[in-house]
Amino acid sequence: MLDDFFIRALVAGIGIAFVAGPLGCFVVWRRLSYFGDTLAHSALLGVTIAYSLEFNIAVSIFLISSVIALILIQLQRKTNLPSDALLGLLAHSSLAVGLVVIGFLTFIRFDIMGLLFGDILAVNKKDLFIIWFGGALILITLKIIWKPLFASTVNYELAEAEGLNPDRAKAVFTVLLAAIIAISIKLVGVLLITGMLIIPTAMARNLSDNPQKMVIFSIIGGLLSVFIGLFSSLEFNTPSGPSIIAAALVLFVFSLLKVKQTIQLKN
């Protein structure tokens, strides 16, 4: 069954949707979408390093993204620049360096479009293992740090006062973000991973009145986006990443109807 490229892409997408839902909620709640973008952009550098050293791509991306996250934390401490400027600096410079390195690696044939926007044909059986095994690890870790992470998202001081160690939870969460980017890059692509984290979650926000519901709806939204996106990718021969994200956008637009209704009910 897994010999069919489309089934593989579908299985990969389902795995990613399950992980992207809960992580995406925290990205939105903690206002980290641009941070996610920065990690994703740096992933391209990870890919080039993987190719030139003949190293596993997912592991390489994971390491580079984690390093970029560490550099960012250091820069925030040591410079007077605002966070968004630092994020922009790291995002674009790592993307640029990644593309420059690709230019030098003339002996390897790169599918740049595939790297940037995802490629439905690129997912092999080993990737499936990495997505499902890595995804399970991410979810288990998130479950473990859920309480301190969630409490500090609501109020940092409260979490710290009551002994939950929010700094450690935040550090672990950063690593988890790097990890999901690493496992989903083949299907969704460097430029659109943050969309996979944020858009189903934004849709879920419109439909939920409590955090648990929001997590569940964003998983459902992600799954629907993957199904609709991949089928239309197959049908219209479009790149897989943009198709999935466009499907998510359509779902989001529909969810706005619900918001409009509740606003009318209130009045």
Binding site: K147, T153, N155, E157, L158, E162, R205, D209, N210, K213
Partner: protein, 248 residues
């Protein structure tokens, strides 16, 4: 817990300096089981900073803090819930501790907001929100409660009611309370020891001692010490927060 007495937390001559400016300096105080210590002082006098020092937020303080418990309930001065995070009262109650429904109901009933349990936090009034925060802090039966202006935004009768409740709780749970208030006369009946701050400890003692103290008068004006006790008149009924009238 320290063995020889009931001390939960003790500040020894603590101070905090940020950007070459002392936020607060030379503060010594201790909170014991079943006792309420109130910090008062004008805006910017270092009340919240002192409470945060007691909670261990700062690493680079002068002096030292001895803490004998880790079971702490905290009501921060400011807490704003981002609209991107849908949160009901019940979700907030479960924030730092896994509590049974029974315990949650009990705590919410104590602060008079049980009827709001399934409401979204975004729809609460300021006073209702404070009552929920207080319920959350007491629900885990802490050894030490740190309350930073816990009744802000609560109407006047509610304010006195909540201070009475806080007093009751300190006895019932046998917990120590570090209370911050900008207003001495409303906490008067509900405190054992008052520390008046103005960047340093300007005076301390029992509430009536502090009210008579000349430094306190200089800080808050003659008026403040004279109006003490004026609010002790009794009502024959109370209004519960869900709008009912209860005869006493």
């Amino acid at each position: 817990m320290s063995i020889e007495n009931n001390v939960l937390v003790k500040l020894n001559n603590v101070g905090l300096k940020q950007n070459q400016k002392w936020l607060v300096q030379g503060v010594s105080l201790q909170v014991e089981k079943g006792k309420i210590v109130t910090l008062i002082g004008p805006n910017g006098s270092g009340k919240s900073t002192t409470a945060k020092i007691a909670l261990g937020f700062y690493k680079n303080i002068e002096g030292n803090v001895e803490k004998y418990t880790s079971n702490i309930g905290y009501v921060p001065q400011k807490i704003s819930i981002d609209w991107t995070l849908p949160l009901r009262v019940n979700d907030l109650m479960l924030l730092t501790e896994n509590l049974s429904d029974e315990v949650i109901n009990e705590s919410l009933t104590l602060t008079g907001v049980k009827h709001l349990k399934d409401k979204s936090l975004a729809n609460l009034s300021g006073g209702e929100f404070q009552r929920v925060l207080l319920a959350r802090a007491i629900s885990k039966k802490p050894d030490l409660l740190v309350l930073d202006e816990p009744v802000q935004g609560v109407d006047f009768t509610g304010e006195i009611e909540l201070y009475e409740l806080i007093k009751e709780l300190s006895l019932k749970l046998n917990c120590g309370i570090l209370l911050i208030s900008h207003d001495l006369h409303t906490v008067m009946s509900a405190t054992d020891h008052v520390v008046c701050l103005n960047g340093h400890v300007c005076c301390c003692g029992s509430p009536s001692e502090v009210a008579k103290n000349s430094e306190y008068k200089a800080l808050f004006g003659e008026q403040a010490s004279q109006t003490l006790g004026i609010y002790e008149h009794k009502h024959d009924h109370v209004h519960t927060t869900d709008g009912e009238i209860k005869k006493k």
